[in-house]
């Protein structure tokens, strides 16, 4: 096997974690050779479907958010997907494999964890405390916000104070106004979301046009993705990004990584020596690679375990009057944190977040009906399209060892072992879903909805792949320490959602970026 010239730091994966880490390390050090290996290629916005009249069917096929659905539709050349056996999970994982990772097809809701989310064991007797607290991460949240470009409003009483947002909030539209008024009538908290979406142009990026389906990729780059935020600056600072490079093994000798084996677009395997390895391949890809590299320290090692998703339910209210239809960023309008902190009288511990979002396109609305053909189905489409308001209940998942990522004995086409997930919804989470659905019913009653439609645990909602290489102070119960370093091999840093020991009830990407910046500072202090 060919042995390439060594590098100082090698990063696997170019998504939120890998990109932020690469940029920060390059900023804080001089003369280091930093290399990122990315299994996919650069996003080609000329090929994104939102230019085309078939964009709706693209979203159900080669541009679906699930890699399995994309592969079933013949694959998408822009995402170097691998199949995930998700038959033992009601929640199906969603991700993207290219430069930018899943920030290419995410919805860019950008909240932060709250202080209590870092202390669930101390405060509520569940989960585990993080090795550090909110205040330690806050400066990195601020920096990450600046790099990504965040619209929103400061002053939210449900969260610690934060600097003024650099861009004004996204429009709420008629639907959002209605929702805000109802929250006010109920006396429940709500706030326009922090969104990693520009509402005014910024150098090289346009402002949001409210075109709707962010998950199909943002052509004007209003939605932040790391291919247009961190990567241009990281590359200008000297980081090398090598695409179409699939890492199949982290090589470890005597408890330290010596480099990685990867195959490039010619399918030839090479050895890339590195003094330090950073793995940022998401909550499934990271444990897959590290388990395949023999980095589990026995059967009780938490590597691959404690998979968390934030299980959700949707309730859609149908209204007699017309709302906005599928206009505006689909996942970013407003959120309520009224029930985000623990109140044991509710029958569960920890909390739920509510998000009011925007409608899907006409085809998606028609296809999800049951039955979805015949006169009654078509009447239902007419009654719902531009007349419905989706209310999302997002629960805080808690770590359970049985929820996990595991690898098989056979190799997949990409040269790594087959990967599968086992996941079940806990009793606590189930109680949260019930609670949230009941609150949604109250909401829509107050809003004057004609009727509601409920979807408990819709499968294709596994955006957040978390917890599978948990961080902690005790090596016996954690995979990495508070600097992201593996207990099994301290010159390996893990830098993505897999390190989160608990996950709050909010979208995690802002936290993943902040963690990456913090971990990069720790490494820079040591080797810079």
């Amino acid at each position: 096997m060919q042995r390439l010239d060594p590098v100082d730091v090698l990063i696997v994966g170019s998504g939120m974690g890998g990109a932020a880490f690469a940029w920060r390390l390059a900023q804080k050090t001089k003369g280091l050779r930093i290399l990122c290996l990315e299994r996919g290629g650069w996003a080609d916005r000329a090929q994104f479907p939102l230019w085309r009249s078939d964009w709706q069917s693209a979203a159900l096929g080669p541009w679906a958010t699930s890699p399995n659905l994309r592969l079933a539709a013949g694959g998408n050349p822009q995402s170097a997907d691998y199949p995930i056996d998700d038959g033992a999970s009601p929640v199906k994982p969603l991700l993207w494999c290219g430069v930018g990772g899943s920030t290419i097809n995410w919805n860019a809701h950008f909240p932060r964890l709250r202080p209590s989310d870092f202390r669930t064991r101390s405060l509520d007797g569940v989960g585990d405390d993080w090795p550090f607290g909110y205040d330690d991460l806050a400066p990195y949240y601020d920096l990450n916000d600046h790099m990504m470009g965040v619209s929103g409003l400061a002053g939210d009483p449900a969260n610690p104070e934060r600097p003024a947002r650099e861009y004004p909030p996204l429009p709420l539209g008629r639907a959002g106004r209605r929702a805000g008024e109802v929250f006010n009538d109920l006396g429940w908290h709500w706030w326009p979301v922090d969104a990693a979406i520009l509402t005014r142009p910024r150098e090289g990026r346009g402002a949001c046009t409210q075109c709707g389906p962010c998950q199909l990729g943002c052509i004007p780059c209003a939605k932040a993705s790391t291919d247009v935020t961190y990567w241009p600056e990281a590359i200008a600072a000297g980081v090398e990004l090598r695409t179409r490079s699939i890492v199949t093994q982290v090589v470890v000798e005597a408890g330290r990584a010596t480099g990685v084996v990867y195959s490039g677009s010619d399918d030839r395997e090479v050895f890339q020596p590195a003094a330090h390895v950073v793995v940022s391949a998401n909550g499934i890809g990271t444990p897959r690679l590290l388990l395949a590299s023999g980095l589990a320290r026995g059967p009780d090692d938490p590597l691959g375990k404690n998979l968390m998703f934030h299980p959700v339910a949707y309730v859609r209210g149908i209204f007699a009057d017309a709302l906005d239809g599928p206009a505006g960023p689909v996942g970013c309008m407003l959120a309520s944190h009224e029930f985000a902190e623990t109140d044991r009288d509710r029958g569960f511990v920890r909390g739920v977040q509510f998000q009011v979002g925007r409608e899907n396109g006409l085809l998606a609305q028609a296809a999800r009906l049951s039955p979805n053909w015949g006169a009654s189905a078509q009447a239902a489409v007419a009654a719902e399209f531009r007349h419905s308001l989706p209310f999302l209940i997002m629960t805080e998942d808690l770590p359970e060892a049985a929820n996990r990522v595991r690898i098989g004995e056979k190799l997949a086409a990409d040269g790594l072992p087959d990967v599968a997930i086992d996941y079940r919804v806990s009793r606590n989470t189930s109680a949260m879903l019930d609670f949230g659905i009941a609150r949604a019913a109250e909401f829509f009653k107050a809003a004057g909805a004609v009727r509601t439609v409920e979807a408990r645990l819709p499968p294709y909602t596994g955006w957040h792949l978390l917890g599978t290489a948990r961080m902690g102070s005790d090596p016996a119960t954690s995979v990495v320490d508070g600097r992201g370093r593996m207990h099994a091999a301290p010159n390996i840093t893990i830098c993505d959602g897999s390190v989160m020991p608990t996950v709050g009830c909010v979208n995690p990407t802002s936290t993943i970026g902040a963690l990456a910046l913090k971990f990069a500072d720790a490494l820079a202090q040591e080797i810079g």
Binding site: L50, W51, R52, S53, W55, Q56, S57, R114, P115, S116, L123, L153, G155, D156, P157, A158, N159, P160, P168, P169, L170, P171, L172, G173, R177, G180, N184, G187, H189, W190, W191, P192, C208, T209, Q210, C211, G212, P213, I219, P220, A322, D324, G325, A327, G328, H337, L362, L363, A366, A367, W373, G374, A375, Q378, A379, V381, A382, A383, F385, R386
Partner: protein
């Protein structure tokens, strides 16, 4: 047969909220169904659908193939410009035009701003 099948799946006509939708046969749905039912793996479904007697029964007996058929019909129908127009939505793709929305009105937040901070340390 494909026109009749298209209309059975998507009849069109006057619908709630004032929508008057084209029948399935007035769009590309029949052509899409014909192409799909000509595929070898769809032969059993095509044979059952030939007389259009009991479509719900066919769905029960061949759920996977029938779901594929309906998906093809819905796609051809709900992406058709005249259908989008009938449902009150522009036929042009979302980019580059986007859509106008009522701007954010911060006065709505006044009751929330009056609350004390309620997150836990």
């Amino acid at each position: 047969m494909h026109e009749s099948l298209a209309d059975a799946l998507i009849p069109g006509g006057p619908l709630p909220n004032g929508v008057v939708a084209p029948a399935g046969s007035m769009t590309l749905v029949p052509a899409r169904l014909a192409a799909l039912l000509a595929m070898p793996e769809m032969a059993a479904l095509a044979a059952e659908l030939e007389y259009l007697g009991d479509i719900a029964g066919v769905e029960r007996r061949q759920p996977k193939a029938f779901a594929r058929l309906v998906a093809a019909a819905l796609t051809a129908y709900y992406e058709a410009p005249q259908v989008l127009a009938a449902f009150g939505w522009p036929a042009t793709p979302p980019h580059p035009g986007g859509y106008p929305l009522e701007p954010f009105d911060s006065t709505l937040l006044e009751p929330v701003r009056r609350r004390e901070a309620f997150w836990r340390r």
